[in-house]
Amino acid sequence: MMAEEKIVFSKEFTEEETADRVLGLWFFIGAEIVLFGCLFGVYLTLNNHTVPGESPGELFELKQTILATFLLLSSSFTCAQSFLGAKKNHYKKSFFFLISTFVLGAAFLGLEAHEFFKYVREGHTFTSSPFMSSFYILVGTHGTHVLAGCTWMVLLLIHLKRERITSYTKAKLEAFSLYWHFVDVVWIFIFTVVYLIGKAGIIY
């Protein structure tokens, strides 16, 4: 039995390849849910392990976090628009909304960095108490996900620019939009559990 071989570089994914990627990302999100679930558990266990003057109620400022929430939730909308644009083979719409998503995500990261720097300047560092450590790890892990998403978007924008709308870019965009919506959902939980409940002074 002999076989002929030919190497091809085609920027087209079969339907099967697209479906594999999307399903794979769903499972990845399943694992991420456990990851964030554990981080929330750690945070809720440790948020009363703190030093005087460093409780959630004293630390957090809701105004800025609400703005960050607004930015990130809007980015979910633009991300969905970008994917819808790609679905309708509308290159310009897809590209524009993906750039908007990137800008919103980057602005969110800027706000978060600003918040972290403020705390550090005030002396609430990563090592000042288990509460601060678990706070930085939970919120920081989410921030790292946003950062990874922004990097991913840069790559996607280059792909879109070069390939326009093909089954290849569509598959990538679909996988990305799943990821991005998930990162948003996690933020809603962080906003509620860490900031709102923390500001209300409810400590477990």
Partner: protein
């Protein structure tokens, strides 16, 4: 004599010198072997491969290499414990702790896991009629991440000491306050890196099994090993992130000065909870694939349909589900209160029900069958009574008041070796003997295989059965010696004799591989075992696309049915056409290498290693994002026959 290695003082004492020498000599031997037999090209092809069966071979060989290392640790442990107040070489106190920690960690994460994942890689695509896994690149990446993690933990011994806090690495003992040496840093980083690989592999198998089945291969027609892989992958998916978080906290506490797991400022119980939320599913991750292998082997060599196929599947799923509900049974003596202990005792005992269903179904499959007593079947038959003993002691341990007596005693050590060695390792051997001819195109010698089996099984019982009695007599686990008046001498000596017998048995296995490689007839044909599932319809070893045309499947045990009712031919589900195969690439290996460099940088706290690792990994991932469109179109030239299977 000593020298400094990134701030860590390394004393050149006899065991460390022996370690360096053995690394050096084995390195030289490898280079000489590869050069003399001109195998560098072959090695490079394996390094670059993304093909499932080659990645499977990589997993199996790396797993067996770690098996020898961790087995050597076990022999050192047993030599030290053979006699009361013994002083074997340097392995007392801290060095003993290094040995028992490395033994446990390596055996679980770098022996049992890769061997099982290796068999999954080899068999699952063939069993469901797939050309490869869904993500071949990711598959290779998983392997290299696993190898990077394993390398980190193994190298730690000669770079300042192995981890010392047991494979469970309980805090606060594992914090830098009590174990300041770098060993436990290697533990946290090594397991982290290999854990990422395992998680990616689970996603890969889930997508493969759900999306890549050949037409007609419904879920309830899949072979049991594939079913076990599916359930195991779900367990990995939901269990490993808990370990990721636990190791992350450990790393920050040890290396970055936080105090989350500390007994005073933080909360030490977080580690125990997270570790066992991962750790208990982990033991089912190890045993369920073995269950799958036994089901396939027993049906093949009893020449009978699996008794109660659907109840076997339901039992697998049920064990997987309950596996997440029982982690507190490792923490009965923590003091969480009688209510929580009682709930978790009941959930633990209830796992005996689906497991019992499986045991009885195997027995009923064997009953009335035409049994062939060859090596894979012997391993399966040896498994049943051995595993039942492990299961019974498991139910004993689940009884809370009694557990206060057994806890942290040798009874526990006996119990988990009966389930892991008597279940997983016997399953791995059965699987290796069973799929070997499919993988390499020649059989392993059956006579030597039987020697391997009997010495291993007898050695296993001699080693681990006395441990139950030691435990009941009060010997705690993780101690490096005991007193003559403790009355434990005879039991320990017996255990040591058994351990060396198992060591000898492994030598027989290696000799068997060499002998069979030299002397076994090639040309085993497609179906050397008179098998039942569709992996036996294709040539051994299979062509890289496995199936020139995918077969159409109408029932479970489709190949057996075809042999019985369709003159040994399966219908094709498609026309002959070019097949899209993945390209070879060295990028997964390079990502693994940069992960290794980066993690090493975190351990020794050198920022430029960390930076190189980080940039390397990100750079390669970006590069891959632009190179993931390459495919190899392979056009198989096969006989224009309309049916599949049988001899060519």
């Amino acid at each position: 004599m000593s020298f400094y290695f990134f701030g860590e003082k390394i004393r050149l004492v006899s065991d460390i010198i022996a370690g360096y020498l053995s690394i050096f000599l084995m390195g030289i031997a490898a280079v000489v072997f590869l050069t003399y037999y001109k195998k560098w090209g072959a090695l490079w092809r394996y390094v670059k491969t993304t093909h499932h069966s080659k990645v499977g071979i990589l997993y199996l060989s790396a797993g067996f290499a770690f098996f020898l290392r961790a087995g050597l640790d076990a022999l050192i442990i047993r030599a030290q414990l053979a006699l009361p107040q013994n002083e074997f070489w340097v392995f007392q106190g801290d060095k003993y702790n290094q040995m028992m920690t490395t033994h446990g960690t390596t055996m679980i994460f770098f022996v049992a896991m890769p061997l099982i994942i290796g068999l999954m890689n080899v068999a699952v695509p063939l069993q469901i009629g797939a050309r490869d896994l869904a993500f071949p690149f990711l598959n290779a990446l998983s392997f290299w991440l696993f190898l990077a993690g394993g390398a980190l933990i193994n190298i730690s011994f000669v770079l300042g000491g192995s981890p010392t806090a047991g494979w469970t690495s309980y805090v606060p003992l594992a914090l830098d306050e009590f174990t300041p040496a770098t060993g436990n840093d290697y533990y946290s980083l090594g397991l982290q890196v290999s854990g990422i690989g395992t998680l990616l592999t689970a996603i890969n198998f889930l997508v493969t099994i759900i999306n890549k089945r050949t037409p007609g291969m419904k879920l309830m027609r899949m072979p049991l090993f594939t079913w076990a892989t599916l359930v195991t992958s779900i367990l990995i998916l939901f269990a490993f992130p808990a370990l990721t978080v636990a190791l992350l906290l450990l790393m920050f506490d040890r290396l970055y000065g936080t105090g989350m797991l500390a007994a005073d400022a933080g909360n030490s119980l977080i580690w125990q909870h997270l570790f066992w939320i991962f750790g208990h599913p982990e033991v089912y991750i190890l045993i369920l694939p073995a269950f799958g292998i036994f089901s396939d082997v027993i049906t093949t060599f009893a020449k009978k349909r699996l008794f109660g196929y659907s109840s076997m599947v339901i039992a697998l799923v049920l064990i997987g589900f309950l596996g997440f509900m029982v982690w507190i049974h490792h923490m009965f003596t923590v003091g969480l209160g009688p209510t929580s202990n009682a709930i978790f005792a009941i959930s633990t005992m209830s796992i005996a029900v689906p497991t019992g269903i499986k045991i009885f179904n195997w027995l009923f499959t064997i009953r009335g069958g035409v049994i062939t007593f060859n090596t894979p079947m012997l391993f399966s038959l040896g498994f049943i009574p051995s595993f039942v003993i492990g299961g019974v002691t498991g139910v004993m341990l689940a009884t809370v008041p009694a557990d206060y007596q057994y806890h942290d005693s040798y009874f526990v050590v006996g119990h988990f070796h009966y389930v892991i060695v008597g279940g997983t390792i016997l399953g791995i051997f059965a699987g290796v003997y069973y799929w070997w001819p499919k993988l390499f195109g020649f059989m392993l010698n059956d006579v030597l295989g039987k020697w391997h089996f009997w010495t291993f099984l007898i050695g296993f019982h001699i080693t681990f059965f006395p441990m139950h009695i030691m435990g009941l007599k009060g010997m705690p686990r993780r101690v490096f010696t005991y007193l003559p008046e403790d009355g434990l001498t005879g039991l320990n000596l017996a255990s040591t004799v058994g351990a060396f017998m198992m060591g000898g048995s492994m030598m027989i296995f290696l000799w068997n591989i060499y002998q069979s490689y030299r002397h076994s007839p090639r040309e085993v044909g497609n179906d050397p075992w008179d098998g039942r599932t569709i992996e036996w319809t294709i040539p051994s070893p299979p062509p890289e696309y496995n199936f020139a045309r995918l077969p159409k499947v109408y029932s479970s045990d489709a190949w057996w049915q075809a042999k019985k009712y369709q003159n040994g031919r399966l219908e094709a589900a498609e026309e002959l056409s070019p097949i899209r195969m993945p390209l070879d690439t060295a990028k997964p290996m390079l990502i693994g290498m940069f992960m290794l460099i980066g993690s090493f940088g975190i351990i020794v706290e050198v920022w430029y290693f960390q930076l190189v690792g980080l940039l390397g990994v990100i750079g390669l991932m970006v590069l891959h994002s632009f190179q993931d469109s390459g495919r190899k179109m392979v056009t198989p030239k096969t006989h224009p026959d309309e049916k599949i299977g049988g001899e060519e």
